[in-house]
């Protein structure tokens, strides 16, 4: 096995392997998911879809916890699963780290022993394993919790221990199954940006599964949207948000997401334009807000909205109860308005309007 990096030093080189996945997974007689993707090391791909869409099954196949029905999984030069060639590498022989939805920390082991478990299982001597586990606990900010039992941790802390445990073996492929689903809303915002930072440092390929579009937008470089066992759209999160190809995708990823540089509550966007946000930040950030937060006006609005800018109508799509308007401007923006508003405003293509977004409706995340 070439994937296990030597202690400490080889992290950067050791697990820089690309993933080739051609997945055909089945659960029971009726359920089936087919998807294909290639993922370069250092990149994060999100499988986004409703609960029960088979995303977790795909993840289990990548981890080796369930064999493929058909297809092929290759990590670097090594074929991990190929039913046609009767190749199947058992999970313990794959260089894969998994963060499970409910973490599955071993309750009878201390936090330190949990993180050291993978290293010990791979034959690293106890003291070396514990030293490296301590390093990882420090990196996730839990250095002083090493003797605690998992049961005594908060949800956010348990999530960080699970991440440290998965990363400690320096796997070539990191798999995250709904990594934030078990957290309450307040913790979630914090852990999400923290997880983003760790994924940025992680040199291997990462596949994450989520039903939350915001998690996918913030954490992933590439997005696969899964619907009824098929991938319905694939691409960069911001592109998918701007150009949804099905109603489902539109409602699912109905978010305006911008990258920019923050100075306090003012964010200069990469594509031009400036937004005022509620949460002060510094440096590279993402600013996100839902299309429902955007109001449209015939003339320049006065009063509370801090962000107003001129736009022109680029397209109008009818959804179930709302109308989604694509607007060109600096920046481009998606707006959901009521059918009544459509009648009031003249929403024909090329018509000039003003868009307004309250600062308090925006969310800012470190990029």
């Amino acid at each position: 096995m070439t994937s296990t990096a030597p202690a400490g030093a080889g992290i950067r080189q050791g697990n820089a392997m690309s993933l080739h996945a051609d997945l055909d997974v089945r659960r029971g007689a009726r359920f089936r998911l087919r998807t294909r993707f290639d993922l370069e090391p250092g990149r994060t791909l999100a499988l986004l879809g409703p609960n029960g869409a088979g995303k977790s099954t795909a993840l289990r196949a990548l981890a080796g916890l369930q064999p493929l029905a058909a297809g092929r999984i290759r990590l670097g030069d090594r074929v991990l699963d190929a039913p046609e060639d009767r190749t199947f590498v058992r999970p313990e022989h794959r260089s894969v780290g998994v963060v499970f939805q409910d973490y599955l920390l071993f309750g009878h082991l201390s936090v330190l022993d949990n993180v050291a478990f993978g290293l010990r299982a791979r034959g690293v001597p106890r003291r070396t394993a514990q030293r490296r586990a301590r390093d990882w606990l420090r990196r996730v900010g839990l250095a002083d919790h090493d003797r605690r039992r998992p049961r005594s941790l908060s949800g956010g802390q348990a999530q960080r221990v699970a991440l440290a445990r998965a990363l400690a073996t320096e796997p070539a492929l990191l798999l995250l199954d709904e990594p934030l689903a078990a957290l309450d809303a307040g913790t979630r915002v914090h852990i999400r940006s923290e997880l983003r930072r760790h994924l940025g440092d992680y040199p291997g390929a990462c596949v994450l599964v989520t039903h939350d579009p915001l998690d996918a937008m913030v954490l992933a470089d590439e997005l696969l949207v899964v619907e009824n066992g098929e991938v319905v759209q694939q691409g960069r999160p911001a592109d998918i948000a701007r150009h949804p190809r099905t109603d489902y995708v539109a409602t699912l990823v109905g978010l305006n997401v911008y990258r920019g540089r923050a100075e306090g509550t003012l964010v200069d966007l990469v594509g031009g334009g400036t937004l005022t946000t509620a949460e002060p930040a510094h440096g590279e950030v993402f600013v996100a807000f839902p299309p429902t937060a955007v109001s449209l006006h015939a003339g320049r609005p006065d009063g509370s909205p801090r962000n107003t800018w001129p736009v022109t109508v680029a397209g109008v799509e009818q959804h179930a109860h709302t109308v989604r308007v694509r607007l060109a401007g600096t920046p481009d923006v998606l707006a959901d308005v009521t059918p009544a508003a459509v009648a009031e405003l003249d929403l024909t293509e090329g018509n000039a309007l003003w868009a307004a977004v309250k600062a308090t409706e925006t969310h800012t995340y470190p990029a």
């Binding site: 999970p91 313990e92 022989h93 499970f100 599955l104 071993f106 009878h108 993978g118 299982a121 998965a166």
Partner: protein
């Protein structure tokens, strides 16, 4: 209220015989009787045999429980049914069956005798075999139940961390079912300690080699009822002490 009377009656029914034992025990001559020759011998033999039988049951029963709970063994229902047979079988019948299998002319015994000169019946080893035969199902059933209750996804998590199946079993599965194993061990040990029918049938009743406490009690009852009461009192004490101490340490945690 309709249920209260039979409940109280049931409790009395369970407790009164023990009260009778305590009341009629020859407390005055108890110290002398305890150090009488034969008593210590029978007690020691009982403890050694019950503990050995429990050790064997653990060694063979835990893997058997794992097989039943965690693998897609074909004919698993049949195997489970076979495991439970000694549980419902009259122990005397078990003893006869053991004789026919492991006796000097038994199905397996004849080869054991011819090849190794080993003969199990009427030896201390025979006592251990008889006790293990009767007591092991208690352990298997308890451990299998615990394994079924334990989330197998923890084992998957261990596999993704690089742990072999054996390491996963030792470091993840066993600790997770430890309370179940403890409970099963207590049940198994208590059953082995009290075993009478299979033992006397398969191993006989020779003081010093095969005469365990229950056998000694039975024999004493015919010649010296006071001795029988003392021996019974000792068995009762040993059982209660073990049960209480284990309960507080392991079983209590899950209750």
């Amino acid at each position: 209220m309709v249920l209260a009377a039979p409940a109280v009656l049931g409790l009395a029914f369970l407790v009164l015989p023990l009260v009778g034992l305590l009341v009629r025990a020859p407390w005055a001559t108890l110290p002398q009787r305890l150090v009488a020759p034969g008593v210590g011998q029978a007690l020691r033999l009982s403890l050694v045999c019950a503990t050995s039988a429990t050790a064997i049951s653990l060694l063979l029963g835990v893997p058997l429980a794992w097989l039943l709970a965690r693998t897609a063994l074909p004919g698993r229902r049949v195997v489970r049914a076979l495991v439970t047979v000694p549980l419902v079988l009259p122990p005397v019948v078990g003893g006869v069956a053991l004789l026919l299998a492991f006796g000097r002319r038994g199905v397996i015994g004849q080869y054991l005798d011819a090849a190794f000169g080993v003969s199990l019946p009427f030896t201390t080893a025979g006592v251990v075999v008889a006790e293990a035969f009767v007591a092991m199902p208690f352990l298997v059933i308890a451990v299998e139940g615990a394994l079924r209750g334990a989330d197998p996804r923890y084992e998957e998590a261990a596999a993704t961390l690089g742990a072999s199946r054996w390491l996963t079993f030792r470091r993840v599965t066993l600790p997770a079912v430890a309370p179940g194993i403890a409970a099963g061990t207590v049940l198994c040990w208590a059953r082995a300690l009290g075993e009478f029918g299979a033992t006397i049938t398969f191993a006989g009743n020779f003081p010093g080699t095969t005469q365990t406490m229950p056998l000694a009690v039975y024999l004493a009852l015919e010649t010296d009822p006071d001795s029988a009461a003392v021996l019974s009192l000792m068995l009762l004490t040993v059982s209660v002490v073990i049960l209480v101490s284990l309960r507080e340490r392991w079983i209590g945690a899950s209750a």
